[in-house]
Subunit: 111 residues, 2 copies
Amino acid sequence: MYKKDFYNMHADICKTISNPNRQAILDNLRDTEMSVTELIKKTGISQANLSQHLSILRSKGVVNTRRDGNNIFYSISNPKILQAYDLLSEVMQELFQNKQRTVNDAIVGNK
Amino acid sequence: MYKKDFYNMHADICKTISNPNRQAILDNLRDTEMSVTELIKKTGISQANLSQHLSILRSKGVVNTRRDGNNIFYSISNPKILQAYDLLSEVMQELFQNKQRTVNDAIVGNK
DNA sequence: TTAATATATTATAATATTGTTATATTAAAT
DNA sequence: ATTTAATATAACAATATTATAATATATTAA
């Protein structure tokens, strides 16, 4: 596989989880499957919009589905997705702390 | 911090690395700093576009810069960014393998 | 001081992503 | 067979992202 293809695929999977609503979905599915109705309640996302986001996650293989009667249950397909999610949380926090420190240094005037 | 803010920030940092050209940049900076000119050569991205992507990475704190004479050297600010990058590579590969397997099952007709 | 090199910025057109509204599908219950 | 509840899809407007072309800035060299 050529590097460009790799970068494209990588960016694609990364983009799939790069949306606040989809982050909320994944966070709610962290350790349990959940029906769409439950997800609506938990996330507050509108039905149509949630369904669209679930469709994106599903089409990329990030979540799996299971029908039980009238409900469809969504779950995360691969635990590494959550590992990546959590690692990015750490990165985010550390970047945020650095920014805070920079601002503080600027105010206090020390380096 | 409210969950919505968290998801927004998380998605934001995630979006920052969700672009094939920025992936290429990060991959090239993996274990060395590099000047813009070097990055142009290595990645094949146009000067203006590369500069824009570097600007995005810089503004989000993902890379640091150092001027040396006429050159500006870029480097990755936090090793966890690469850890996250690599973990997402694994996720990508595993998702890809699953998809391959599914296609194969469909062709062969076994489950 | 001017020229050359390295990098950044701005404007813009093309494309992609997002959320909303309205409508369709699917399965279960009556 | 209808009705109801759960979920999906389509159409669309608003916004964001992207790459290109043109121009500007900054540092060194001549």
